[in-house]
Amino acid sequence: MKHKRNTVIQLAILTVLGGAVILTMLLPQLPSQRGAAPLVEISVILRESDSSLWSSARLGMDQAAGELGAELRVLTLDRTNDGTDQLEVLRRELGQQTDVLVVVPADPEGLARALPDQGTACPVLTMESPLEGAVLAATPDNAALGRALAQAAVDDGAAGTVLLLNASPNSTGVTARAAAAQEVLEAAGAAARVRAVDLSAPSDALRDLLKQPDLTAVMVFEPALTEQAASLKQSLGLDVPLYGVGVTASAAAWLERGVISAAGAWSDFAAGYLAVEGAVNLARGTDCRVEQLPFFIVRGEELYEAEYQKLLFPVG
């Protein structure tokens, strides 16, 4: 009886070990071991009507998506900074069972109010502006960026009236930059004149604002407005120093030509990469680190310095 029991136990151990051998033999064949993690669907919803401003970031996003197994849908709005339109796009994406949303909020507060009503557990990651209930990633410190840009203007002698233009007053990120810049300017004795502009409207209003004679400097705080203001400045032949945010290809050209005196910039490629990486981590339930991107203030003569080249012009 005891002998039989021992034999049964030995056979059981043998079977278990044999099973372990087979399992370890098949282990590399298992989908979980072959790195074939399910594809993460990511919807990137911008707040602009034109995605060309995000071309560098898009390169980073694509690289991250390729490496981490994600599928990207980059969506623009019919009208730049239209919060209602953005909410509609967001609802549509939620309806298509996207795994995670990356949003550049046009109206963070409105979006925060509307999101809970969607009744979805879809994780949301934002860029540029923080959003309640969402993870803010791949964004520079907005206030610090505004202060640094204002300091550059002050250093250049902007002492009188400085025009601060904000095309996205509902965007808390952009507004934070402007507010911080205003503080620095006023602390330096300059008179900060804050004005809102509508990027989707004809540029007449912006032209009138730029043509004000008493301006010692103009500051804008987002790439789209930087491009538009630089373009108008050049076409109008204005001499007033322009300070902007974001170095797109056009902005770089104007920076080089001196149309833009200085610009606050960061690696858009890194921003796009980190945003998608964070989104994938959110979708897979792994650790999603909130990182602030380092920024810098660049002037035309510094544009071709090796480090700036590498950050501003992604290798294509």
Partner: protein, 605 residues
Amino acid sequence: MRALLKRLAGRIAQGYRSMSIQLVLSLSFTAVALAGVVFLGAGLLLRFSDSTQALTQESTQRVLAQVNMNLDSHLRRMMRVSDTAYYRVIKKTDLTLWSMTAAMDLLYEENRDALVSIAVFNEGGGLEAAVPLSASKPSAIPNESPWFRLALEKMENLHFSTPHIQDLFDDPDNRFRWVVSLSRHVQLTRDGNTESGVLLVDMSFSGVAQVCRDVELPNGGYVYLTDRTGEIIYHPRQQLIYSGLLEENNLTAAGYSDGSHRERFQGQDREVTVKTVGYTGWKLVGVVPAGRLWGEGGSLPLFGISLLLFSAFLMAFLNFRVSAYISDPILRLDQAVKELEAGRDAVEFEEGGCYELRRLSRSIASMVSTMRHLMDDIIQQEAQKRRSELEVLQSQINPHFLYNTLDSVIWMTESGRYQESIQMVTSLARLFRIALSRGKRIIPLADELEHARHYLNIQQIRYKNKFESSVTAGPDTDGLYTLKLTIQPLLENAIYHGITGSEEDGLISVDARREGDDLIIDVSDNGVGMRPEVAATLLSEERPALRTTGSGIGVRNVHQRIRLTFGEPYGLTIFSEPDEGTTIRLRLPALDLEQAEQYQQEGAP
């Protein structure tokens, strides 16, 4: 250390001595087999690892050689463009008389897929010609650029730069393109005089990237390209490195010679293969993560460990059974020997197992059988010897009995008691005839009783009828046989110890009857008797041998003779009470003629 080894050896020896042969066999087999498996497995694993590593290196080197060839081809094409521009255009152009632009434009158009611009600068950095872009950027200062300085410093060489943004000419599309600059010193002709200048061929970075891109190495490896100082020219994740999101061990790799190297970077072991790109001194670096040689997620070691465990347990399992099969006949033999030692008679020696064991079993069985036969013979011989001694003693006539009887005959004859003397002589003659019985040990019961009767007659005459006697036999005792001279010693004992000491008239009776398969003969007297505890010791082996004053043979001898002849169940039983008398009961097998003859033959000397 030596003491430790000695102690270890001692423990092993002690364990060995206390272990069963099956355990020793199974443990030894398993240990040896396991050592073999581990040795073989380790050898194969090392061989596999070496082969895999060699294959990886070979494969990487082959891929790098191919990439190097493609890259070399691409760079040589650019050098040919530069040569063509110099020898076919610049050298043949006097700048005072002609422009180089048309010829260079043609050259550019032929290679526009790989070129961004071709430009010629004079020694001061002034632009002499440029295609397709010709508008210099206001901020451009060519003669301060590294490519310009290098070209003038090392005039005999062509110089390749690391990738950078083209920063000399305005691009109407505001494009900032990554280029690799190829510069060289040239001699410009102006108004018949030669002067130094620099020819710059900006080739598109994408051309270099195209050569290196999509190169796949084993185990998820990749290829990157650096210049001789380690500055990255191409990397599949170049922009991540530029953005500070990734680090590469490029500066260390720049110091490696061509060939394969093992390095550890950011906690990961990597197989790095380096190949220098001919003219430029650039280094192609192939990186293969070494950890993947062991399989994804360490599956290979896991497989090895589980296989080793399975093999070890399977071997132990099988060895245990094989050793049980081998040692089972030995254990059975051992058990049989133990049983033999314990005194068991019917011990079977199974002949199983291998040849040597079967022969050993046969030998032991044969030895035991021989020993048993010898022992039986000895026992039989001893019994026979004892029986013979007893019978010799039994058959001897006490000389005093004979003298006394003959004296009695003489005395009776002299006194004229002829009838009594004749009766005594007749009984004596009859007594001797039956005692001899032609040497037979087993005689008819009737003869034995007659022998007793004649003995009693003689003794009655001698003792002047001091006692009465009777000899009776049941009708069922007819034809039965008994051991010779078994009653007479008892009668002698009754006369000398029972009757002679008694004051009363004695009575001695002999009564034979059959009880089942036994023959019972009671010899009783009404003499002085004895205490039962004394009677119980008369037949004891420990009691000193009794010698009677009669025929000289004691009661115990009769008891021993019966037992030696017929076995333990038979013999004498004494019933006695002081002043009451004694009865000695003989229990014998009820032998018929056939059985008697059989016993007769067995007991024959």
